[in-house]
């Protein structure tokens, strides 16, 4: 083993240059040329200001916006500099109590919402940065937002339908709505009354 240390060291250094420096830099160069938007993080810019990334969820606190899922990142929800999950055990009392509290909170915020509470609105995502809701999760919030913005619920449901992405090729993934995109459009079409 000792006599192998010399070729091992030399080979490791050569492969570090190849796989650790040349490879990522070449990929970076090509990516920046071919997919500049994605390579920089799919940022959404409005009025020369970065308002977020298409792919990264964020909190919306006011009742006039669609709310994202609960997020377990620390120290605050949707901390995109430190992703995280609750890792709550399914039989943990504190976790079940927390979900109960979220259900009560949602019901109180959305008194006119029909049907059962969509699961994702009361459970925290794996990343803490989930950008999506299911269509049901967005529709659940429609009566509240429609009332606040003074528009018809039907119009708002139309907006959700318009922004719903289906399964890729009809097979992969789940139908979903990007909350940030939806809220940006919401503010554009029907600004909140001052």
């Amino acid at each position: 083993m000792l006599q192998a240390l010399i070729p091992a060291t030399r080979l490791l250094l050569v492969l570090t240059v190849l796989c650790g420096i040349a490879y990522p830099l070449v990929v970076t160069g090509v990516a920046q040329l071919v997919f500049p938007h994605q390579a920089r993080g799919s940022l959404i810019v409005q009025d020369d200001r970065v308002v977020g990334s298409e792919l990264i969820g964020r909190s919306f606190v006011g009742p006039g916006w669609f709310h994202s899922r609960p997020s377990a990142t620390a120290p605050a929800p949707y901390n995109a500099a430190a992703s995280g999950a609750s890792n709550a055990a399914p039989t943990r009392r504190a976790f079940i109590d927390e979900v109960k509290a979220r259900i009560e909170g949602l019901r109180a915020e959305n008194p006119d919402a029909a049907g059962p509470v969509p699961v994702e609105l009361v459970t925290a995502s794996g990343s803490g940065l989930d950008p999506d809701l299911t269509p049901a999760g967005a529709l659940f919030q429609v009566p509240r937002i429609a009332k606040l913005r003074g528009i018809g619920a039907e119009q708002l449901r139309g907006l959700v339908a318009e922004f719903t992405e289906g399964r890729t090729l009809g097979l992969f993934g789940q139908p979903r709505v990007k909350v940030l995109r939806l809220n940006l459009e919401l503010d554009k079409r029907w600004p909140l009354p001052k």
Binding site: M1, L2, A4, P7, A8, L11, V14, L15, T16, L18, C19, G20, I21, Y23, V27, T28, A31, Q38, A39, R40, G41, L43, R49, V50, V51, G52, I56, R58, W65, A81, A82, S83, G84, A85, N87, A88, A89, T91, R92, R93, V99, I103, G115, P116, V117, P118, V119, T123, A124, S125, G126, L129, P131, D132, T168, L171, F172, G173, Q174, N183
Partner: protein, 568 residues
Amino acid sequence: MTTQGWLEIALYLATVTGLALALGLYLAQVFQGKPTWATPAAAPVERLIFRLAGVDPAQEQHWTHYAGSVLAFTLVGILLLYGLMRVQDWLPLNPDGQAAVAPDLAFNTAVSFATNTNWQNYGGESAMSYFTQMAGLTVQNFQSAAAGLAVAVAVARGFARRSTRSVGNFWVDLVRAVLYLLLPASVIFALFLVGQGVPQTLGGAVVATGLDGVTQSIARGPVASQEAIKLLGTNGGGFFNVNSAHPFENPTPLANFAEMVALLVIPASLVVMFGRMVGDLRQGFALYAAMGVLLLAGLAVCYGAEAAGNPALTHLGIAPGGSLEGKEVRFGVVESVLFAVATTVTSCGAVNAMHDSFTALGGLVPLVNMMLGEVVFGGVGSGLYGMLVFVLVTVFIAGLMVGRTPEYLGKKIEAREIKLAVLSLLFFPLSVLGLSALSLVLPDGVASVGAPGPHGLSEAVYAYASATANNGSAFAGYNGNTLYANSLLGLAMLVGRFSVIIPVLAIAGALAAKKTIPPSAGTFPTHGILFVVLLVAVVLVVGGLTFFPVLALGPVAEHLAQASGRLF
């Protein structure tokens, strides 16, 4: 469970199998030194690398030298990576100003990446500089996978060769694994991922100001280049804390499907390569069938449990559809389950959902997959050589039943080989159960447990099973970043890696030295259904029964509690 879900699972397995067939035949060409379509481009680079490294590619190695080279290469890999992390604050490409990594965490991480485990006791975006991610972690992602592949090739040669003292040249096998497979595949896959939305930039975190005026700092980096090899090399070490659940690591369902294919395809192809190298593809297909059966069994249980959801939640009057705690909306239940099973039958350990929040039975499956010793396709290389150990035990047991000296692929399997095989099988439960037990007794170990009740036991056992099996996924409520856990988990990874590599190389050496005997009427055929059934039974009995008591106390007890509405 839905038809759409099963359809996607079927498409997944068909895609992996189709690609594995083509790739397996290609890899057999590469490692038998025959020309391939890649040779004109790769051969000059290969020669240059050998010259720079001072390696004579024509020199064949005895198994002891081969093993010594693997050990030496892993050792210098650990030292270099450890050093990089300790001084990363002085090095370039650190736009977010990460501090030097603490010694115990750096030890754990260096061992973790060099042994192809990729257990992570840190969040990448808040602990590692871009330079460390690229020149440190990415490099070991390549090298640990290539080393595992090399060992598998040496073992295949042990079966294929006769009356010789050598099993190949480690340096040549290692470099070929990188140049002919891992590097070109990673370039293509990385660019595909960027197209799907995975960032690839040297720019630091960007601050976004939302509609409500609230700012959000969004971590980025050279993610795609690391993501590609993380999956292809069954490494599993994420750029970000939450791994492939992070929208920047795994932005779309299509990217997710491709990532799942990438993490299984090379281990699957090595089984085909093995069949070709020993001159009988049916032998490879028999192993493939045994692995496939074990994968599907786990998948059915896990999917059923997660689709049914957590009874404690369904009683609260929320919409049916399974628990989404720790899962992402874009993947839902089926793609989270499929990823969890694929990542734990292989030794990948990347996750797109948090296993710790799975239902009791849903979480049992990833744990059992690892406890079987990562032989259901397993890691790049390690899955094949691990499964061959079980094959030797199976033919031995079959031989005992009929009272004949066991044979496999024309080689007599004698006392030495069986002793070595059993030795490698014994270290695994010893490390998993011994270190878990110790960590559940010592206060320093107990401090890491996050969940109350039987789930707490599952968390600790999961950690040591994951480390020893070189998987790297976690029940992440377990806090591994303590001096105690960093040290013990690091030890478990080393034991898990080398307690198999050294015995299997010794077996390869012993087999290569033997003559090949032609099959006779009394030879037990190892390509038929009977053999597949026996092999599956041996894997389940040896792997499963050893761990049955601890599983009963952990996930099974939790399942019974869950069914009766008991909380902790």
